[in-house]
Symmetry: C2
């Protein structure tokens, strides 16, 4: 039996044909056509899903289920994508629209939850229980698998660990609160911190790294500067790791997972600049000083969302 | 079928005969004999457990299981109480010691987890999924039931939500960190805040309420002062609710439980001074502004530990 997973992102739609082991046999993607509405995008999802099957020579009746991960609030019970950031889905009956064109069991997930399922099924968190996956991107995404099932909470909207408050009265967050974790630990936060450090230090090598243009600062800029021994860059990373560690410590002390996987572009930084010092900070803050929770880099990269979406059917 | 639950506290040992519905049919307790070692206390647990059965006329072979909740770290797999605060259990093979005298299925739990099971089975969280129980006492205890099972994390030591960091660099905690939630939301924290306010305001009615003696301040003192309109007491409660709310917001945003039950003596305060304003703060900080999580007072009081210990066998 085969599965199809679709990762619906703000920039690209990617579908993958996935086997029971969570391996992607064939993948296809298209950039998001900004002129399409939710229904139009759904038709595109069907085309992509069918395409990966055809290209791999797999008949559609061999597909056990199709799943799709969305960047936002989904309700798998009703099959509706309730709300997305920067995409035209709002109370969109995605399951109904999909099944009108291809009548196959269809599942909906949040993108962070799909990443968690993917890493649990075939990545760095394979077989770990509980397994938490934290994705450092524009915000902080998070998902957990417990006892072989996706943890969804009561109203099915998934974990929003990025919005735990780690600094009351701190940096304002788009959610309306102050001091949310993602204001200290996301890629966006690291970029903000890098820019602030540059404004305070006109001689930092960080200026060269972004061609003298603050708007060209990326998540990796501070790591590049630190690699060259730049003082401002090293201080930025120290602050960043500090903020990132608080939320990780809180997840460890509240949930004591077997593993926390860090995903997103930031997580690819060299170990000595990120994972190794982060592990020390988290161990120091862990209530159980033996710190049984492993802190690891996620293994599947962007594929985690495709694999996790494909296997939603077995996890929810 | 019947169950026996034992709540092992630093002050009292309490055993209860419990039926399938989680009702306590008979209860017996003794003060902790400080001269006894772990093995001696285990013999006392057996005597108490047998006593409640005999008194209710229930034959021992009608007991499906016995469970005991301890204030500390337990390992139910090995049957060992690893560590307790202020009690002589350390790597004590409690199951073996108990079963030497009464060969019955015997389960071990952490007291906060037992409280969560009790409230889930027969109290305010009945049937809720996920159900989180937070106990405001010397520290902050916490436990969660998900999908009808106790959530224990990886190494079986349970949730330590009281040690999430909500104020980096804040009040020092016994665990070695700074700014743990229990330094802002426990009964101990409220007493500390009350004393500090008294030292800053020699005319506060709080002084009368504790007979001019700082050492006699209790968790309820600030509530009594607030009831009389005392400004210092009102400010203490505002600060206390603020700190307590941060950890509750974090639990809501990370876990989105169906219910959070607040237990411990503090939770008996009048609604207008605690639960009502707390609900507003938590709703305001919740990522999902529809705030599907209910915030309620725990219903079973100290009995939650006995009921939850009795039913450990069905929850782990």
């Amino acid at each position: 039996m085969y599965y199809v997973g679709i990762d619906v992102g703000g920039t690209n739609l990617v579908a993958g044909l996935v086997d029971r082991e969570g391996s992607i046999l064939r993948k296809a993607g298209v950039p998001v056509d900004k002129s399409l509405d939710g229904a139009g995008l759904c038709r595109q999802l069907v085309r992509l899903a069918v395409e990966v099957c055809r290209e791999e020579g797999v008949a559609l009746d061999q597909i056990q289920a199709v799943g799709a991960g969305f960047p936002g609030l989904v309700d798998n019970r009703t099959g509706v994508v309730v709300q997305t950031a920067n995409m035209p889905f709002r109370d969109t009956p995605v399951r109904q629209l999909f099944q009108q064109e291809w009548d196959v069991p269809f599942f909906l997930g949040n993108d962070a939850n799909c990443a968690a399922i993917g890493e649990y099924w075939a990545g760095a968190a394979k077989g770990c229980d509980p397994a938490v996956v934290v994705t450092l991107g524009t915000g902080i995404g998070s998902g957990m698998v417990v006892g072989g099932r996706l943890f969804t909470g009561y109203a099915n909207s998934g974990m929003e660990a990025g919005h735990m408050i780690i600094q009351p009265g701190g940096v304002p967050c788009g959610c309306g609160n102050h001091g949310c974790w993602e204001q200290y630990g996301s890629a966006t936060a690291l970029i903000r911190m890098t820019r602030q450090a540059m404004e305070q230090d006109r001689h930092s090598v960080l200026w060269e790294l972004c061609g003298g243009d603050l708007s060209k600062v990326q998540g990796r800029t501070a790591f590049q500067g630190a690699r060259q021994g730049d003082g401002a860059a090293l201080r930025v990373l120290e602050n960043y790791r500090q903020g990132l560690s608080i939320g990780l410590i809180d997840l460890v002390n509240i949930l004591q997972p077997q593993i926390i996987c860090l995903g997103g572009g930031i997580s690819n930084a060299d170990d000595d600049l990120l994972l190794t010092p982060l592990r020390e900070l988290v161990k120091k803050g862990s209530y159980d000083k033996s710190m049984p929770t492993r802190l690891e880099r996620a293994a599947l990269g962007n594929d985690a969302g495709v694999v996790g979406a494909a296997l939603l059917c077995d996890m929810i």
